[in-house]
Every structure is written in C-alpha cells, then in structure tokens.
Symmetry: C2
Subunit: 653 residues, 2 copies
C-alpha cells in the first residue's frame, strides 16, 4: 500500500497493456526488471510451513457441512451449464465432461494449491466461451475438441509465462469496479440461460408446466434463502435452509412434476451418457494431432482470450474467497495458483473437458461455510427492541480436506446409479435454478446496492450510509452509469458471434478504472464508491492493495515525476523473507504518504512490515481512504462487512 505512488505513475505512462503479454526483461528501467519465478517461489515458501496443518486442521466438524454444501453448490450450476453446452455444442460436452472438469480442479487445487479454499469448476463465462468457439469453428469442419485442446495447451503456456513473471502483482488494480461489472454480467448470463432452456420447449403443455416449475423452484429457493437470513428458527435450522434449501428444492420439484395430472405430461430431462465415458463417441484422450497446422496457430488468439478470462476470473475468485471479513491466518499464493491453473487448463484440453477455474459465488461460500461463528447482540441496540444482531466469524477452518472431499463426491456422481438420478431432473427445474442463481447474484451485486441507494428515498436513508459521504450525487450516478455501460457492452457482444471477445471488455475495465474514472471523480468519491477486492493481508504477496481511490490523490501529487522506486518490485522485496509477510498482517493500513522523497517512501515501505496499526505520518486523502478500508469496517460493524460480503458474492462465476 505504501508504494502505490510510483506504481500508479508508471501505469499511467505505460498503459494500457500490462497483461497478458509479459513485460520485456532486464531493461535498464527498474520498472522492467522482472525477477522470474520470484512470486511463485515466495508463494510456496510462505505457504509450505502450513502444509501439514492444512491436513491436520481438517479434524473439525465444520468440514462436514462445508463438504456437503460445496458438493451441491458446485454440482447444481455445473449440471445447468452442462445442459447449456450439450445443446449448443452438438453434444460435444455433456454432464460427464463437466463433472470430470470439476473433479480435476478440485483434486489439483485441494492438494497442490497455495490457497485450497478456492473452489474450482466450470463457470458460466467458460460455457459462453466454449459454445462461441463451436459456433465459429464448426462451419470450417475443424475437429472441435482438438481445437479446444490446442487452446488449452497454448493457454497453459501463457498461464505459466504469466505465473513466472509475477503478473499477479497487477491484481492490485482489480478493484470492486470490474468485479461488480463482471458479476452483473454473469448474473444476466444466468437469467438468459434460464429463459433459453424454457424457449427450447415449444408451446404446448410441457412448456407451460416447465414455466410453472421454474417459477416455483425460484420462489421456494428464494424463500429458503430469506428464511436463512431471517431471525426465525434456531441457528442450525437457518444454516440448513440456507445451505441445502436450493438442493432440496431441486429434489422436491424433480418429484413434484410426477404428481396428479402432471404425470401425463412428458418433460425433457437432463441428458446424461454412460458412466465415466465421454458424452461424444470418443475416448477420454483427445486426438489433438488430428487438426491442421493452421488451426493449431489459429488457436492462439482464442488462448489469449481464455487466458485473460482466467487470469481475471480465477484471481478474483481467490481474492474474494479471502475477503476482509474472513479472519484468515494462512497466507495466499496467487502466482503459484496461476501456475496450477495453467496445468489444469492444459490437462482439461487433453481430456476434452470444459476448462475449470475459480468459481465466484462458490469460493467465498466455501470460506464462509468454514467460519466458526458466534452470534453477538448488536451493541447499538436500544431498549425498545431494535432486534439487530450479528454473526461474528471468530476463526476459519483453513484446510484442504473439504475441497478434496467435494471433488471426490463429484467423481462418485459420475457412477451409474447417481447418473440415473441426475437424469430425472427436468429441464424446467434447471431453468428455475438459473433464475434463482442469477437473481441472487444480482441481489448481492455492488452495482445493485448502488442503484438501490440512488432510488432510495433520501429522507429515509440513514445518515450513516457509506454512500452518504459523497456530497455530489451526480458522482454516484456517473460511476453507476459507467458500470452499467461496461456491463451492457460485455453483454451485447456475448449475443454476437464475437462473443469470445467478452474477456477483453472485462479486462478493459481495469484501465478505465485506473485512468478514466479519476478524471471525472475526486479521490474521496472514488474511495467511497470503490474498494480493494481483498484485505491487505491477502494482497501482501502481490505488492499490497491499490484500494478505492486514495491513490488518485497521491497520483496527482506525484505527477511531477519525482518518484522512481518500483512499487511492484519493492512489494516483492518487502515480502521476500520467508513468512515475513505475516508480521505485517493488518498493520500497514494507516500509513500516510504525501509528497515524500524516495528515501522516505522506502523507509515507510519497509516500515510497513513492522509498524503497529494506526502508524501514519501526516494526514490527507490517504488517511481518509484508510479509515474507509479498515477503521470504517471496525466502526460501522457488521453492516459494512455484510455489504462487503454481498458485493463479493455478487461477482458470480
């Protein structure tokens, strides 16, 4: 955090292409000096001391419900996506491919990743990517799976290049702004998929019955989730409803459509194939040599797009699975995990599976389900019975068993008896599942929260609402308008044959945030409207967090070019010592920089790892931003941390 002055300056001068092409090495300018593998090595060094405890810590009851919950939370959307890919790729991908991709991701990441809390599986965006490539390539007669395999192999190379060049240090520029837009986009993709499932059903009884069933699945899941959030019943019952409400709804309505006069109506079910065999008539190993040399190279641009998508999507999943509100104590490892992601992408390509990556609502849900919480009464409660209360997470059961176990359960689902059960699920139920997932993602999105603030009656908005800190209401409108515009552009391109290009739109939002928004909004406004995606503790391995706009103030102050120290590089240096980052945990937030010399900055930068909380020389924009990031959370209590959680879950994947 202390080094952003210079980093931002360099971004300004070298923008707008920080990724995916790795910056050239060993130039005289220190900005270009990339220490290869440094990020990965540090990641491994920092995490290795915890590896044994990652297995021994799993002896905890929370692991059981977390495993069962993640199994359902992972498999149900996967089934819905498999139906979508099945019908849009002429049965190249089906249930078995999607399940196996989830198993691959779960096993590799649970055993080898630096952050085993991140749940890896098949997302909505990759579904769009897959069938768009199919739409483009099938008229040419190219072997589709072989082509996808080459995309995976090229992408493996690109992932590894990005991993060894420490590209995850750029993650500090990924604030809530692009994450919220991406989440909004994914939510609409969900809703659209639900409608498409229904549209394929003609115009007779099955269509209308499916419509009824999808509405009921939506309504019942919604009620379960609302009850889970309410003050009704006891805590275990609420958690049960919240965790298993949707799976049980799916089970119930799978049976429901056979009651009474509905029995006579034939509904389309989820298509499945033979256990453990690919959906298409092929072996698991893709004949990747069965393709022209031209097509091998044609796969490169697609691989670039895929890599952009995964770099963004997977890292964001990881960031928000380690959000501020989770009291994590084991370090993250973004570079190392990116390397692993390249590996799974390549393997998935070779096996003809949809590429798995970090799942956004599921990854933070996983961390959340591993939290040991206690209910505490709201200290602000007054006598007349406000009825406020909060759940305080005291500790997270950080381990690798729940992720592995849910993967093995998914593997079991590929066996004959369970595949038969899956085949019973009517497509109308899956449509309802798409609706509830999309709706809940929208409900939790940061853009929705801002829109609701804007349409809220000003007279009835509490004085303590964070957005009330912004006197200029037009600033909020502008920010939300840019967000909606970004969403609309991304969603629009997805409707065209150029849909594979959508990752570029998402990615372009990062320079928009860094370069364009500071021209229209003051640093104070940006610091309230936007915020870092993860906590400073999590961001430590990647050079600290960029945050919500305080740096713009610093940027203005330092545009005279007096700064030279490379923030990204120094971030690595600071974290260089094994486990050194641990000492700095939640301690370097309030460091204040104004117009300081390089020496002072360097001093502060080192000081960050030793300084106790609240250390800060001088005042100004930086301090204010810090108050919002950390003290603000302390002060406003649960409401803000809930908002953070909501925003996090909003970026669905």
């Amino acid at each position: 955090m202390t080094t952003t002055t210079t980093t931002t300056t360099t971004t300004t001068s070298h923008a707008p292409a920080p990724v995916p092409a790795p910056p050239p090495r060993s130039a005289s300018d220190r900005w270009y000096k990339i220490r290869l593998f440094r990020g990965m090595i540090n990641d491994a060094r920092r995490r290795a001391p915890y590896y044994v405890s990652d297995w021994t810590d799993a002896w905890n009851y929370r692991v059981v419900p977390a495993t069962v919950y993640m199994y359902f939370a992972n498999i149900l959307p996967a089934l819905a996506f498999s139906l979508d890919m099945f019908s849009k790729t002429d049965m190249q991908y089906g249930v078995n491919e999607v399940l196996l991709a989830s198993v691959l991701g779960a096993v590799v990441f649970s055993v080898l990743a630096c952050q085993p809390l991140v749940i890896v599986g098949v997302t909505g965006p990759i579904t769009v990517f897959n069938y768009t490539v199919y739409d483009i390539m099938s008229p040419t007669g190219t072997n589709y799976l072989a082509f996808m395999c080459w995309i995976g192999l090229w992408s493996l190379v690109l992932h590894w290049v990005l991993a060894v060049t420490n590209s995850c240090n750029w993650l500090r520029y990924v604030t809530r702004f692009p994450c919220d837009i991406f989440g909004f986009y994914v939510a609409f993709i969900y809703l659209q998929k639900g409608i498409q499932v229904l549209e394929r059903m003609g115009d007779e009884e099955p269509f209308y019955l499916s419509l009824v069933v999808s509405l009921l699945v939506f309504a019942v899941s919604y009620v379960c989730a609302e009850l889970g959030k309410s003050a009704l019943f006891t805590h275990p019952v609420r958690v049960f409803l919240k965790d298993y409400g949707t799976p049980l709804t799916v089970v119930f309505f799978t049976g429901f459509v056979h009651l009474g006069k509905m029995e006579a109506i034939h509904l389309e079910n989820l298509p499945v194939s033979t256990s453990f065999f690919p959906t298409a008539d092929r072996g698991w190993f893709v004949h990747f040599w069965d393709i022209s040399v031209g097509d091998v190279f044609l796969a490169i641009p697609f691989a670039v797009l895929l890599t952009i998508l995964f770099w963004f999507d997977h890292n964001v999943s990881s960031l928000i699975a380690q959000g501020t509100e989770f009291p994590l104590s084991k370090p993250a490892g973004f570079h190392w995990d990116l390397f692993l992601l390249g590996l799974t992408t390549g393997v998935a390509g070779l096996l003809g599976l949809p590429f798995p990556n970090g799942l956004i609502p599921q990854a933070p849900f996983h961390t959340e389900s591993l939290c040991v919480t206690s209910v505490v009464a709201d200290p602000d409660e007054t006598g007349a019975g406000k009825g406020h209360y909060e759940f305080k997470a005291t500790h997270v059961v950080e381990q690798r068993v729940s992720n592995l176990a849910q993967g093995l359960l998914t593997l079991g689902t590929m066996s004959a008896p369970l595949l038969v059960v899956l085949h019973l699920i009517p497509q109308g139920v899956l449509a309802g599942l798409f609706f509830i997932m999309g709706f809940q993602a929208l409900e939790a999105n940061g853009i929705t929260a801002k829109l609701l603030f804007l349409v809220r009656d000003a007279a009835l908005t509490p004085a303590g609402h964070p957005l009330k800190q912004i006197p200029r209401r037009a600033a909020i409108w502008l920010f939300v308008a840019v967000e909606l515009l970004g969403f609309a552009a991304t969603f629009a391109i997805t409707q065209t044959v150029a849909a594979v290009g959508f990752p570029i739109f998402i990615f372009a939002l990062i320079p928009v945030r860094a370069l364009l928004l500071p021209r229209w909004l003051t640093p104070q406004e940006l610091s309230v409207l936007d915020e870092p995606t993860a906590s400073p503790f999590t961001m430590e391995g990647i050079g600290g967090s960029y945050g919500g706009g305080s740096e713009e103030g610093v940027l203005d102050a330092s545009e005279d070019g007096s700064s030279g120290e490379d923030g990204m590089d120094r971030g690595k240096t600071a974290d260089g010592g094994t486990g050194g980052g641990m000492f700095g945990r939640r301690s370097g937030e309030a460091v204040s920089v104004g117009r300081r010399s390089e020496e002072e900055l360097a001093e502060l930068g080192e000081g960050r790892l030793r300084a106790p909380a609240g250390v800060g020389a001088g005042a100004g924009a930086r301090r204010m931003s810090s108050a919002v990031d950390e003290d603000g959370i302390e002060m406003l209590g649960m409401r803000v941390s809930r908002r953070g959680l909501a925003s996090r879950e909003g970026a669905l994947g």
Copy 2:
C-alpha cells in the same frame, strides 16, 4: 373501561347467549332493562352535528386517491367472488349483482351512516353462505332467489330488533381473538377459491398457462406491496405502488396472456352479462311471493345465521376501520349503522343481490388512505445508521364523498363499455388475485404474528418484543393452539354441506374468550395476548372497551358478587349527553379499579369523561394493561402501531 368489573360479572352469570336473541325487556333486574332505541338515538345525536362537515370536509386532495383506490380495492375482490358465485349457483348471481350490491351499500352507508368510513360490499363469507344455501335448496326445487329474498327480509327484522335493543353494546367482548380467527379463516377461503378457479380448467395448456399467470400476478402484486413498504423511491411513488400495484398487475396480465405464443391458447374469461340487467333471465325485482309458505319460514334459521355473521362481520369492520392508530375526531354509531345494514340486507334480498356488509381489509384501508401523514425519523436512531423511520398520521379526512364516489364509479362499471373490459380478465388472473389477497391477509394476521414469534430464535428476539412480557411460553402456545383450533373447526365445517353454520363457530369464540381462556391463562398473559379491537374513543358509544384480559383480574376480585351496577347500562348513561363522549376522548385509559364500592365505581365512571390522561388511583393488572394499550404504543412507536394495523387488516372479510 371503568365499568368492566360489574359487566364481566354479569356476563359470567348470564352467559353464554348474549346475542342474537334480544334480552326480554322491563324485568326487575336492572341488567334486563333495555331502553329501546336509546343506542340509535344517541348515535344519531352524537353524529348529527358533524353531518354538514362530512360533506364540506371532503374538499381535500386525499379524497381523490382514496376514491380511486377504494374503487379498485372493492371491485377486484368483488369480481373474484362473482366468478365464484356464478359457477356455484348456476348463474343466479353474476358480475352485475355483485356490482349493484356494492353500489347499494356504498350509497346507503355514505349518505346515511353514522360512520361513513366503513366500505360496504360483497365479502368472502357471504359468498360461501350464498352457494351453500344454493346447494341445500336447489334439490328441493325452491325458487332460490325468492328464498334468498326471504332470508334477507327476516334478517332485516332481526337486524332492526338488534339495533333498537342496543345489542352493539356487546361489542366490547369482541376482542382481537375472534377477529384474528375470523381473518385467518377468510384468508384460507381466499386461497382455496384461487385453487378452485384453477382446478376448473382441466389439464391442458389453458390450465398450465393460468397457473403461470396466477403465480406471476401473485409475485408482481407481492413485489409492489413490498416496494410500497420499503424505503425506496419517494413517498408518492411508494403510495402509488401500494395502492395501485394490484389493479395495475391485473390490467397488465390481462394483456400479457395475448403476447407471443400464448395468444394461441384460449383462456376462460370472467363471465359477464348485459349491462344493468340481472345475470339470470329475470327482472331486478325478485318475485318473493313465488315460494311456499313452508319455505318462507324455513328461511328463518338461515336469516339467524346471516344476522349472526353480519352482526359480527360488519361491526368488526367498523371497529377496525376506527382503530387506535387513526386519529379520528368524529364519533362512531354502531347501533344506527346496524339498523342501516338491516335495510340494505332487505333491499338486496328484494333485488336478488348478494347481501353487502362491511369489508374488513377495505374499510381500514379506506381510513388509512384518508390519513394525512408525515414521515418522522425514529428518535431511537443512532449514528451508525439504523435507518428506522415512521409515518405519523396527523389527521384523517373524515367525510362521505369518497365512499359515495367509489360507489358511483362501481355503478358506472355496470355500463356496456366497462363490462366488456371486465370480460377480458382471464380467470387465471383472478386466481392470482385470490392468492395475493389470501397471502396478504395471512401475513397481516395476529395469529401469524404470534406463530412467527414462537418459531423465532429466542436469542435474536428483541428484548422489547411485546410477547416477551409473558414468562410462560406455554401460555402463548396454548393461546395460538386455541386460535388454530377455532380456525380449523370453522374451515372444516365450510367444506361440508353444513357450511352455512360457520357464523356460529365464529360467534362461539366470544364466550370461549370470555369464559374459557381466563381459566387457563392469567390476566397478565391475556392482556398481552389479546387486546380490544378499537380505541376507547370508538368504544364509547357502546359502553367502553373490554380489553385484553385485565378484566379477568378484576373478575377474580369481584367474584364474591359484591358488584351490582350494570356496566352496560351505565356506559349508556355516561354517553347520554349529546357529544359528551368527545370530552372523554383518549382520557380514560389509565383509570385503575381494584376492589371498590359501587359508589367509587360510579364516581370513576363519571370521572372518566373529565379525567386527564394518566389519571389512575391504585396500581395492578389494570394499569399494566393500560400501559400496553396506550402508553405502550407511545413508547414503542411505529413498530407496535404497525403491528396493530397488521392485526387489523388480518381480519379480512
């Protein structure tokens, strides 16, 4: 309120048949001394001074939205009921009869009633009554409408007898307890009617499309109502959504079913007949002489049942339209209005219309829509932004124009162009209307509120929750169990051919409350679990309010028989002077009676009209009850008053 000691004692000794048979007159016992017409004359005397202002006060903007809102709130359920009666009485009653009954009620009550705020129309219970009589009588070959006419004429006589013998003084025993059970019952009747409408549609596309439409009507109406209650948008927008959300939803979905592929499906619409003509092939005037003499007398027991139903239903409508939370300043007149109700019942019989009476959600909605409110911030709000607020009703536009105008609008609806529009409404939309009405009635019911309290997490229930005053949780369970049993018995009989008997079940709840519950529950418990239906100001004309159980304590204390003064009679005496009741408004609540002599009671009784608020000699149960009834509302602010409103609206009719 001050005279309840003796009143309760007399109830105990003369129970359980206070109504409907008028007590014999001029006996030596003072309890039997009925001063004929005294109640009606006093009602007229008290209200007459306000008659001119009832028209001049209508020069207020609130009258316009109130008129439009009441028109829709009255006509939409009426249409749903007309569909029900149409199909269940072989087209003896249709849309025109239901509309004309509403017009009759609106014109008579708006011009002549002592309380013109009460909206009169066709209710769910009368629908059940009508088709059950049809089921019973149609096999005998009796002229159904002539038979109904005789029921109306006998009922007219019974109503008038009840009116001149001041029977409304018994209303003080009608607490929330029977009202909530009745409301629960009516809500379930609504839901059942919705299902029945759908059941009549076979098992092909029209059935499933209607199911979809009914679910969507439900969902959209629900969302409109929730938005109306939220802090979003501005106050006028919220009021608009709350008031017109449901009507606009009906209009929208009437058009919706003609979109896209749904156009091809033929849906059953609301059946209508020629403008201004009866649905059956007859003149408006029923040939009531076209019936055997035996059937004329057979109509008497039915008329008794109808009278019980109307005495209860209409008076309760009137009570809750004048609930504590409405700052009314013009006096009520229950006796006079009961006389008018007899008149409209007889006239409706002669014209072959379903009998109109007070509409429970609509009557309080009418008062509410005439409230001039202002938004005030919750004084308990603390800095961190609790966001609580309340709407304070400062004044009610008490007048006769809105009721009359909505009746005339309904009359206009009977004309050709509007009848054609009504004919476009698909029955699936009406089913959705039944669902939302039933759901909202349940949501607002006092039984639901208690059930929600019981299933609520005790750890998360605010300390100030009114029901937390009861240490014995079993007491709440018992009270709710008795309520649910009463509901179940009433609902069960409605499913049989003996359905016309349901008013007896409802009526039997009043002695259950007065005699049975005090044996199982302490006065303190009853005072929290139950409460008077209307404010002391409203109850003044009928001898004061009985309230929520504090009287049981008094009853215990006075069971030695030392009391002799007739509470009911003295209540009348106290209100005898013209307009005298006005002085006592909201002033006599905290008067405390323990073991006092008749002289003391008499003194307090007179004192009630002069005493300022808070006067109270002695302490004990009565004071506690009073704190809950009045001070409690002041103290807890909106939450309690909302609860009161909710409970009121819960008793749907």
